[in-house]
């Protein structure tokens, strides 16, 4: 007995759907066992020379049960949060919490912009602190409530888990099963979320807070002092930098929606990297990007040792060397992305 190519894909999608409903611990092992038992069943039902098409395989999978029913058998009955509350808890963790955290971060950014960048470090620290507190608060409170309901009020929503399974058993469709994504095309939600968060922060920094925050900072006599060092030649590049960051945000959003990398997103990524490389090369050729006025700094209260340190840095031409280093790093990244694009195209052609 053999599986046709499409049947094989269908089986993988079914097993992935089961796997996603299993507890983290031991899920790969359980899936390996379900697969082995299922293949034994097929071998018993079909002759060795037969090839199973999608219709036959779907029929066999229906006999096995919906992914939810199969996974439910492997979940232990002594979970802290009972299956009758799983759906609501998942909604709170995956939808409500990110929305509230995003709102808190947005409010923090808004207050930072409106305050004109006063005490920026503390504002940013406070903003992330608040977001963390809110996330832990919501998830923790929900977890405690559902644990109490599971332990002491088991009758609440008691039939819901079973009802849900029965409904799924009746209505599950092969077309609804998750798509199996090849390992190199997989994207991780946390990676995208980090990219989006830092992308927004970078954009806000360059568009609204650059003049207040970009420069050399020094703590002396009980307060932070800042000497602006970026020249007009550097500031002329800020729109280009902002466009690059914006494109990165768009790319993250596209991957978030598609939940995978594709040829399109890979080309998009390469375009952004090429633009970053061109930008860095243009910065290298742009002349003086940083200038430090020691007299003004002394007037502002910068201690002499700080001024000497900054002047030494600038004398050693560290900006130029930093940009050369960036060109090398971006070039390597660009080449690796091109290689991944070719590999992905070959995989898809197969």
């Amino acid at each position: 007995m053999k599986l046709s190519e499409k049947s094989q894909v269908m089986l993988e999608r079914y097993l992935l759907a089961v796997e996603r409903r299993l507890p983290w611990q031991g899920r790969k092992d359980i899936i390996a066992e379900i697969r082995a038992n299922f293949m034994d069943t097929l071998e018993d039902h079909y002759a060795p020379e037969e090839t199973l098409d999608e219709t036959a395989l779907e029929e066999e999978l229906r006999k096995l049960g919906s992914p939810g029913t199969v996974a439910a058998g492997y979940r232990q009955g002594d979970a802290l949060i009972g299956p009758q509350h799983n759906q609501m808890f998942r909604l709170i963790v995956t939808i409500l919490t990110p929305i509230v955290v995003a709102a808190v971060l947005f409010a923090g950014l808004l207050s930072l912009i409106l305050s004109g960048g006063k005490s920026p470090f503390w504002s940013i620290w406070e903003m992330f602190g608040n977001a963390w507190q809110v996330a832990v608060g919501i998830i923790g409170t929900a977890a405690v409530i559902f644990m109490v309901l599971t332990r002491w009020f088991p009758q609440v929503n008691a039939g819901k888990a079973l009802e849900g399974l029965n409904e799924e058993e009746k209505h599950w469709k092969v077309s609804d099963l998750p798509e199996v994504v090849a390992e190199p095309d997989k994207v991780h939600v946390w990676e995208l979320a980090l990219g989006l968060t830092f992308g927004v922060l970078e954009l806000v920094f360059f568009l609204f807070l650059f003049d207040q925050l970009a420069g050399f900072w020094w703590y002396a006599d009980g307060k932070w002092r800042m000497a602006p060092v970026f020249t007009e030649a550097f500031k002329a590049f800020i729109p280009w930098i902002a466009v690059n960051i914006g494109l990165g945000l768009v790319l993250n959003i596209v991957m978030f929606i598609r939940q995978r990398r594709s040829l399109f997103t890979r080309l998009f990524e390469i375009g952004i990297k090429a633009s970053e490389l061109a930008l860095t090369a243009a910065l290298l050729r742009a002349g003086t990007l940083i200038s430090f006025d020691a007299t003004t700094a002394i007037r502002q209260g910068f201690p002499p040792e700080a001024i000497t340190g900054i002047q030494m840095l600038l004398q050693n031409d560290f900006v130029r060397w930093f940009l050369v280093f960036l060109v090398v790093v971006i070039s390597i990244d660009l080449v690796s992305k091109l290689v991944q694009l070719v590999k992905s195209a070959i995989r898809q052609a197969k």
């Binding site: 359980i30 066992e33 082995a36 038992n37 293949m39 034994d40 096995l64 058998g73 232990q76």
Partner: protein, 113 residues
């Protein structure tokens, strides 16, 4: 007069409940020799004991978690298979369960005859 279909529907449901109560004993009694999931399913089917895959396979894992079975993946067959067998504790528990069941059976027979 109660329709025979209605009676058989009730009997089927109650009989399934009875089988559910006995399934642990039945499965353990077949695992003195090592078996993998599908082989055990077929064996029970051949002996006339109906059990579904989604009940049997997770039960074998549960019995292992509870410490009555040992299991191993074997790679010698056409594909890897996970074999289960009673361990020392499992064998002792099965022996006691078997004795208990035989005693219960005598009592139940007496009651329901």
């Amino acid at each position: 007069m109660i329709e025979p279909e209605v009676i058989s529907e009730h009997v089927e449901r109650l009989s399934a409940e009875l089988r559910r109560g006995l399934i642990v004993l039945v499965v353990m009694s077949q695992l003195e020799q090592k078996e993998y999931g599908y082989s055990l399913l077929k064996q029970l089917e051949e002996k006339g004991f109906q059990v579904t895959q989604d009940t049997l396979y997770p039960l074998m894992r549960r019995l292992e978690t509870q410490g009555y079975l040992k299991s191993d993946w074997e790679l010698d067959d056409a594909r890897p298979r996970r074999y289960y067998q009673l361990n020392e504790l499992g064998l002792a528990v099965l022996e006691a369960l078997r004795r208990d069941w035989m005693e219960q059976l005598v009592i139940i027979k007496e009651i329901v005859k």
